[in-house]
């Protein structure tokens, strides 16, 4: 299955034309305009970013870093280290107290609230708790992401089976989420996040609820997505996984950046 999926992923990234063939509506134009464009090759730039909650609780403390387009980055650190704050700033769920957050060449501090939906269409999100809709089938869950962003039915009917095949869920498309295993549910959630082929995929503890073997499967899927050119930022505290992958590791502790290494292991962060 993996070679098949790889081929599909690669062909998809090389020719984005099918996605643009349909729906020449006004909404579609706005949509395209909002697709993230990392001008100088940086997908994410944090410049002196501090986030305070209230008076003296610091979520992030003066963080400066840059993530290139196409990179795979692990964001590690214990609970409360600022991983979630980092991710919430990326999707503009909130704004930085100080400093600049630039995603895909766009300064999020200067972006109006009404533009946020279009920003998020360019970012895929995967969470520890999957965030699937319980009353809907797997197919409907994935199609939902396209429906609510105003995609044409024809294009939805084409894209959903495609992404389900890619994530190995074709035979599960009529099942409900609670009929699936945790690993399968996380695949659905990844399918939903990637169905629009975003330039940036954010995964917040995607393997947090899964056993090690299943986690590796999810990891492989994310890696394949990364190889299509999608930037992947994955927050985790799964030590084994990080050690195995040997990718760039950004370690946070108490809101501070304590380590930023390429091809690194989880270790040295926690004694």
């Amino acid at each position: 299955m993996s070679t098949d999926a790889d081929a599909q992923l690669n062909s998809e990234s090389e020719s984005p034309a099918p996605a643009r063939r349909t729906g020449r509506t006004a909404e579609r134009r706005i949509d395209r305009r909002s697709i993230l464009r990392p001008g100088d090759g940086s997908m994410v730039i944090f410049d002196g970013v501090t986030k305070r909650y209230g008076e003296d609780v610091v979520g992030l403390d003066n963080i400066s870093l840059s993530i290139d387009a196409g990179e795979f980055v692990f964001l590690v650190g214990p609970s409360g280290s600022g991983k979630s704050t980092f991710i919430r700033l990326l999707i503009k769920e909130m704004d930085a107290s100080e400093g600049t957050v630039i995603v895909g060449g766009r300064d999020l501090g200067k972006m109006g609230r009404s533009k946020v939906p279009y920003l998020r269409r360019g970012i895929g999100c995967v969470f520890q708790d999957f965030k699937l809709l319980p009353g809907r089938t797997i197919y409907e869950n994935v199609a939902y992401a396209l429906e609510v962003t105003g995609d044409a039915p024809k294009s939805i009917r084409r894209k959903v089976p495609e992404i389900l095949a890619l994530t190995g869920l074709s035979d599960k498309s009529d099942r409900l989420p609670n009929e699936l295993s945790g690993g399968e549910q996380q695949r659905v959630s990844i399918a939903r996040a990637f169905v629009n082929h975003p330039r940036l995929l954010i995964a917040d503890e995607p393997t947090g609820n899964l056993d090690p073997d299943t986690s590796i499967g999810i990891m492989q899927l994310l890696y394949r997505i990364n190889r299509t050119g999608t930037t992947v930022v994955m927050a985790t505290h799964d030590r084994d996984l990080v050690d195995k992958m040997q990718m760039r590791v950004i370690a946070l502790e108490g809101g501070k950046l304590v380590r930023d290494e390429r091809s690194a292991s989880y270790a040295t962060v926690e004694p």
Binding site: S114, L119, R120, Y144, T149, G150
Partner: protein, 301 residues
């Protein structure tokens, strides 16, 4: 197709919260039912009052006992006032004419054969040039000895008192009805709002996912607004059906058998079709307003 998506989502949500949706529908139904009985009743009273107001003629009743000379003198007085420009026209209605007119207004004229004689007085039907000067004309004519002072208004009757009384009643009905309707509509709006609030709560995961994948704010709101409108329109439609049944079973038989003033009266009220359209539109509007308010408060998108 987007409209299709909104409707599917709204219906899905109504099905998921059946109890609360039914509560909202019933409240709208009751409010609209009362609105539906009030509107035609009010318009009927209003129409009656307007008719009364246009009936501005002064009735000058002539005593049966008055000698011909006094009646002629009265007529001369009226002609004099007409030449002054106060009176536009007048006509003499004999006792027989009066009886015939009365017969025409009865459902069963044969009842009059039971009368030993004609009890109705002769009268002058005086049409003033300016209705506001009714009082002045009445004062001028009151000097005549031919007038039957046992009749209403001491023998000179004009619409003023009746009209004023009717207007007071009509106004009271109007205000009381408006207050009642306002209270019920507010209740309906609040209950629909509550329905939508619960629906937002029940669908918080959907809303979360919608925000996550980049649905615009209006895209998130529309299903809720449509849900409110559906509740409002369904409640109003049920109420229209009940009103129609009430009209067929109660009002229509009553009007056709009644010997009261409802039958020969030419006062009109609203047609049922128009009423139904107004009520259903009102129900939809109540639903939209109810969900709109709640979305502002509870759905920070």
């Amino acid at each position: 197709m987007r409209l299709g998506f909104f409707f599917r989502e709204a219906i899905r949500s109504i099905k998921a919260n059946v109890a609360i949706s039914v509560a909202a529908i019933v409240t709208v139904m009751i409010a609209v039912f009362i609105l539906g009985t009030f509107i035609p009743s009010y318009l009927y009273v209003q129409s009656t009052v307007n008719q009364q107001k246009s009936r501005l003629d002064i009735q000058v009743y002539v005593a049966d006992a008055a000698p011909q000379s006094q009646v002629a003198a009265l007529q001369a007085q009226i002609v004099a006032l007409q030449s002054q420009g106060l009176i536009k026209s007048f006509s003499f209605i004999s006792k027989t004419d009066a009886l015939n007119q009365f017969k025409a207004r009865l459902n069963d004229p044969s009842i009059l054969t039971l009368l030993p004689n004609n009890p109705l007085p002769a009268s002058f039907d005086v049409r003033p040039a300016d209705p506001a000067k009714d009082g002045q004309i009445a004062t001028a004519l009151r000097t005549s000895h031919a007038i039957d002072t046992t009749m209403p208004g001491n023998g000179i009757s004009y619409a003023e008192t009746t009209t004023n009384r009717l207007l007071t009643i009509a106004q009271f009905i109007q205000y009381a009805g408006l207050v009642l309707i306002a209270i019920l509509l507010v209740a309906a709006i609040l209950l629909i709002g509550n329905t939508i609030r619960l629906s937002i709560f029940a669908r918080r995961r959907e809303v979360e996912v919608m925000r996550l994948v980049g649905a615009t704010n209006w895209f998130i709101r529309w299903p809720f607004i449509i849900e409110g409108i559906i509740c409002g329109v369904v409640g109003a439609a049920i109420s229209v059906v009940i009103l129609w049944i009430a009209k067929i079973l109660v009002v229509d038989p009553y009007v056709s058998t009644s010997t009261g003033g409802l039958t020969r009266d030419s006062a009109t009220t609203i047609g049922f079709g128009t009423l139904a359209v107004i009520l259903i539109v009102a129900g939809g509007a109540v639903g939209a307003v109810g969900s709109g308010f709640t979305l502002r408060r509870f759905l920070k998108v």
